[in-house]
């Protein structure tokens, strides 16, 4: 069965068919390796929900070309896995007919996108039953194996909160990705590692990569460091907001500070926000799926602490079951060809393969030509116009001032009736409707009322506390101030509107020191030791100025602020207090240091990767949610200030360019096969970045 699928795949791809490279090592030159090429680098970034992958580095770096849901389905044979749910379908074929009914394959292509409803499995059975009923004696029963791209029933998620919980499944996923991308022999592999992986985990992965893929070189890069590469900075605090967890890492001079690192902080990721929404809205008839889409919609926003909620009462539309709310776009979808099953889950398989062969990658074209994307845009426009018509007054108010707003909820509804039966397979209709939500949409980071094992004070405060803890644990105290001033916030969980601003506001009100506590040990001495990024190792100069948030609490003398913070905007203002006598300074403050933070800022993202900037939120549909139907309507959500939650992948591309192509291993940044053969998997620890 597996063979059947593979054949179909490779033929569809049109690429030269390659067997699994079991005899590949004999083809490799024994010692000297030819230099690696840009187009032969395989990048894989596993996450708890989505695994990003790409073969080859494009001219200008782009978001990951392939997105695989991080899940596999158990195959029939124990210990083997399939990328899609496969179920048996028995069909009666007329013996005389002769045609072997290649139907399932065709149908699959026509089937609606991958976001499935949990009910999918049961409906198949009804199909079978109806088939069985009109069975005639002349038919032979044949068993078809059908890949159900829409279902996630029975899926195994090998990564939970960053931890690899099911190794065989994880390895099967890696193999699936490898086979799908089908890299040539001489392909170095760059894997972005989760911070939570232990040393032994990394060894196991190293062993797998070398022994299964026969890779000539392998690099295992820490995701936090990759984010630093993406931003082109040597020192930063990386906050990675994932699905179920948050990682907080302080990186100083391209070195990850392991001590005090916030690893897989639970209950702080995107799921926690959905859970909170569900807790608030559940009694009003919202399903978790609705909350998930609400979270992704552009009406959901995290307001900085202290912002009054619009409207006086925190009540949503009472009584009305949101499911009964105005239903709109039920008619679209269905057979309209573009949304084939492949696109929903693995964006652009077909599109990119032709390009690979040419060696020239016009990713922008692929992406813009991506039907899902296109549809999403159309959808978005429709939504906005519709909303404007319905609520002309409210539309002019900013979202945060509106008491109520509605978002478009989409779900896939099984197509019933004769049409479906005729196809013998399931058909889905995308069903969209507007649901109105009240101020609950601003409360997704508030602490949950049902206290679990943690006395959490809301996820933002937990993250802020972790940042404080992590930075305080950095042994080099002179770096701490810089770490506070260079926060990098990545991860899809941070895509909720207002996340960054609200986080900064929480830090400000909880941890920022008042100017009077720092006036006598102003940042002047430490600024000498921490030069501004010059951009020496980045293609374009970085500007770190323009704080998003003024650190000073309200009501403080602005001159004091200027004096203590040495604001780049006011370079002339120097503290003039008598105690700032330079000789005293040098004598008493040479090694002592002052408390932090006096300010907190996020790093500005590099300007020179327009694709990443524009694409900031393009991964909303399907991509960040394998199972829970993505909401294309939300894909246009604009993010104030940041849009590069996948900076990790950008960084991985930059790093692979440097490691594999530019310095060719001079900087000991990857483990070569020769060395692996000598020292075994544990050699990876000398190369882990």
């Amino acid at each position: 069965m597996g063979r059947k699928r593979n054949q179909r795949k490779s033929s569809r791809r049109g690429a030269p068919l390659r067997s699994h490279h079991s005899s590949q090592h004999s083809l490799l030159p024994p010692i000297t390796m030819p230099p690696f090429k840009d187009e032969h680098i395989l990048l894989i970034a596993p996450g708890s929900q989505m695994t990003l992958a790409q073969l080859g580095l494009p001219e200008t770096f782009t978001p990951a070309r392939f997105r695989f849901p991080t899940r596999m389905f158990p195959a029939e044979k124990k210990g083997e896995y399939e990328p899609y749910r496969v179920h048996e379908r028995r069909q009666e074929v007329k013996a005389s007919n002769g045609t072997d009914a290649p139907k399932p394959d065709v149908e699959m292509k026509d089937a609606e996108p991958a976001e499935g409803t949990p009910a999918a499995g049961t409906t198949v059975k009804t199909d079978e039953n109806t088939q069985d009923n009109d069975e005639s004696t002349k038919t032979i029963e044949e068993v078809f194996y059908e890949e159900d791209l829409a279902s996630d029933e029975g899926a195994i998620y090998p990564i939970e909160n960053g931890r690899i919980v099911d190794w065989p499944c994880f390895f099967a996923l890696l193999t699936h990705i490898y086979n799908t991308l089908s890299p040539p022999f001489h392909t170095p592999i760059m894997l972005v590692g989760q911070p939570v992986w232990s040393a032994r985990d990394r060894e196991a992965i190293t062993q797998f990569v070398f022994e299964k893929f026969k890779a000539p070189a392998f690099s295992l890069m820490d995701s936090a460091l990759a984010a630093c590469y993406g931003y082109g900075t040597a020192t930063a605090t990386i906050v990675d907001v994932g699905k179920g967890k948050v990682d907080v890492t302080a990186v100083t001079d391209f070195a990850v500070n392991e001590h005090g690192r916030g690893i897989a902080l639970e209950g702080c990721g995107g799921d926690a926000m959905t859970d909170r929404l569900h807790e608030l809205l559940g009694p009003k008839g919202f399903t978790r799926e609705m909350c998930e889409q609400l979270k992704r919609s552009n009406i959901t926003e995290i307001l900085p602490p202290g912002t009054p909620l619009p409207g006086s009462s925190a009540t949503a539309r009472q009584g009305a079951n949101p499911a009964a709310a105005a239903s709109t776009g039920g008619s679209d979808g269905d057979e309209s060809a573009p949304r084939g099953p492949g696109e929903g889950t693995q964006t652009g398989i077909e599109g990119s393969n032709g390009d690979e062969d040419e060696g020239v990658l016009d990713v922008a074209a692929i992406v813009s030509g991506n039907p899902t994307e296109y549809l999403a845009n159309v959808e978005k426009e429709k939504t906005t116009t519709k909303k404007g018509a319905a609520d002309p007054k409210g539309a002019r108010l900013p979202n945060s001032k509106k008491e109520k707003a509605s978002f478009q909820f989409e779900e896939f509804v099984q197509l019933e009736g004769e049409k479906a039966a005729a196809h013998g397979s399931r058909q889905y209709v995308r069903h969209a409707r507007d649901i109105e939500v009240s101020v609950e949409r601003f409360l997704l980071t508030s602490p949950r009322s049902k206290v679990g094992n943690r006395l959490t004070s809301g996820i933002l405060e937990d993250i802020a506390t972790q940042i404080h803890h992590t930075i305080l644990a950095v042994p080099d105290a002179t770096k701490r101030s810089e770490l506070w001033d260079s926060l990098i916030i990545v991860g899809c969980g941070s895509k909720v509107k207002g996340f960054t601003q609200a986080l900064l506001a929480v830090i400000t009100q909880k941890f920022i020191l008042s100017p009077s506590a720092t006036i006598f040990t102003s940042e002047i001495p430490s600024n000498f030791t921490t030069p501004l990024p010059t951009g020496a190792n980045t293609p374009a100069p970085m500007s770190q100025s323009g704080p998003m948030y003024h650190p000073a609490a309200p009501g403080v003398n602005p001159l004091l602020v200027a004096a203590t913070h040495n604001n780049p905007g006011m370079p002339g203002v120097m503290p003039g207090t008598p105690s700032m006598d330079p000789s005293m300074l040098s004598h008493y403050r040479s090694t002592g240091h002052s408390q932090t933070p006096t300010s907190v800022k996020t790093l500005k993202l590099p300007e020179y990767f327009p694709d990443f900037k524009d694409q900031g939120n393009s991964n909303a549909p399907g991509a960040s949610s394998g199972s829970a139907g993505g909401n294309p309507g939300a894909s246009g959500t604009s993010q104030g200030g940041h849009g590069m939650e996948e900076a990790v992948f950008l960084g991985a591309q930059m790093a692979s360019k440097v490691f594999f192509v530019i310095d060719q291993g001079l900087s000991k940044s990857y483990l070569s096969r020769v060395e692996y053969n000598e020292s075994g998997p544990s050699a990876i620890h000398e190369y882990i970045l």
């Binding site: 392991e258 105290a477 941890f511 008042s514 506590a517 006036i519």
Partner: protein, 471 residues
């Protein structure tokens, strides 16, 4: 690499053995692979206990600093003197320290992890799952211990390592010896300023001189208690530390003004108890130690008059103070007080009296100069000059600003004859992890191979073998 060839002996003992070095301290537990320059895993030795859903739950690691748990209380399995008191929990904490970052979970059944081609009929129908997977079955383990560790505790340690963790080889080394190794010395006088203890350990040719080992409780926790005493007597108002977890937001205030803060409240049955608060207060205090506290540089005591006739204390008053802001936003400048907090480490009379302190007032014999004197008195006269020329300073609390200068002055005054030379690594992590680094060096030496106590030897001789082999 022909898999049928047995590994050669020379290869086996070398760096290829990924030994784990475990350096358990009172405040933190350091663990990492031998051969690396810093421990990969650094966790607090403190652990938390709380009740959830009617079950008692334990929490290890840094996480507890970030999110408190309902009704959480904090414990430490190690006693104030640095000797393990609660063996069961010590084992759990240590185990967490290597499982969380180093060994992790197993990569699955070898039949199914995709690395081996096994045809389906070869697959055993039922996997013979080991009844209990032991965490260290393929890593030799080197552990450290304080110089005054009793024999019983040493035997218990090897018992845990061999029987609970199933380590193939084990060694127990004195932390003082390892700290000397980390500084590249085989003979040294190691002054270790830890959290619960300060100790002086004379070492000759890599062997500990047991009669010279001295220790006293004037460590980092004692300094914290002195700082608390200062806060209590502070003018214009006594200072209480409110840890971050009790604060929801603060407003900037001028120096010396009462804090304007919004407190967070927990329901009475959910609130973490006093031990948790103390643990988090300690974090603020360690920030205070880093930013404010300073050791009077000497050469004479803080209370003594300086050569110019002005008292040292008046001299200290003229230096500019250092500001500090507390989690609730209260901030003030600390002047001469910041010197007084540590003065009693050198001068018992300078201790700030505080009847509520858990530490009794220090006796003169507990101060560092007296400990050094007593330690040297316990070793051979001929060795003393050599030891004084190789004084090694280690331990996190020795990072107090000005500490080594003062120590140098004190030793030179006490021993004017022989040359005194104090070695203290400037790098923060080398100072904090001195004994771990020494262990990392030792365990990665090829020649150390013969020193390991193997599982077989343990099974043959019982836990008492540690007394014979690890001297």
């Amino acid at each position: 690499m022909n898999p049928s060839n047995p590994p050669q002996a020379a290869e086996y003992g070398g760096d290829e053995v990924s030994a784990i070095v475990l350096d358990p301290g009172y405040s933190t537990t350091r663990t990492g692979f031998a051969g690396e320059d810093a421990p990969k895993s650094l966790i607090p030795t403190y652990y938390g206990k709380y009740n959830a859903d009617g079950q008692e739950k334990l929490v290890f690691g840094d996480d507890v600093f970030v999110t408190p748990r309902p009704g959480l209380s904090i414990y430490n399995p190690i006693g104030k003197d640095g000797i393990v008191e609660d063996w069961d929990m010590a084992e759990r904490v240590w185990e967490h320290s290597f499982i969380s970052r180093l060994t992790g979970t197993k990569a699955g059944n070898p039949f199914q992890n995709g690395l081996n081609d096994v045809s389906s009929d070869e697959l055993p129908t039922e996997m013979e799952v080991e009844s209990e997977e032991k965490p260290l079955s393929d890593s030799p383990l080197l552990m450290t211990e304080p110089g005054w560790n009793p024999a019983k505790a040493r035997e218990k340690t090897i018992e845990i390592a061999m029987e609970k963790w199933d380590t193939p080889a084990f060694y127990l080394a004195r932390s003082g010896v390892l700290a000397a190794f980390a500084s590249g010395k085989a003979s040294a006088l190691v002054i270790d300023i830890g959290a619960s203890n300060i100790s002086v350990t004379p070492i000759h040719d890599g062997m500990i001189l047991k009669r010279g080992v001295q220790h006293s409780p004037l460590g980092g926790d004692y300094i914290s208690s002195q700082i608390n005493a200062i806060f209590k007597a502070n003018s214009p108002q006594p200072i209480t530390i409110t840890p971050h977890y009790l604060i929801s937001s603060k407003t900037a205030v001028e120096a010396g003004q009462p804090p304007q803060v919004k407190y967070k409240t927990f329901p009475a049955d959910k609130a973490p108890d006093a031990s948790y608060r103390a643990l988090l207060e300690e974090r603020t205090l360690s920030e205070f130690k880093e930013c404010v506290v300073q050791v009077w540089p000497g050469p004479t005591k803080l209370s003594a008059p300086s050569p110019t006739g002005v008292s040292n204390e008046d001299m200290a008053r003229t230096t500019p103070g250092r500001p500090f802001e507390f989690p609730d936003g209260y901030n003030q400048i600390f002047g001469v007080d910041r010197f007084r907090a540590v003065e009693s480490l050198f001068d018992a009379k300078a201790a700030i009296p505080d009847p509520d302190s858990p530490f009794p007032p220090p006796t003169p014999a507990q101060t560092i100069p007296e400990l050094v004197k007593a330690s040297l008195a316990g070793v051979d006269v001929d060795l003393r000059p050599h030891l004084l020329a190789n004084v090694v300073v280690t331990g996190g609390s020795s990072l107090l600003y000005g500490f080594t200068d003062r120590l140098n002055h004190e030793l030179m005054q006490m021993f004017p004859g022989p040359r005194v030379r104090v070695t203290a690594p400037g790098n923060t992590s080398e100072r904090r992890f001195g004994s771990w680094i020494g262990g990392s060096i030792l365990a990665s030496l090829g020649t150390f191979h013969q020193m390991w106590i193997s599982k077989k030897e343990y099974e043959e001789h019982g836990p008492n073998i540690v007394e014979k082999r690890c001297k």
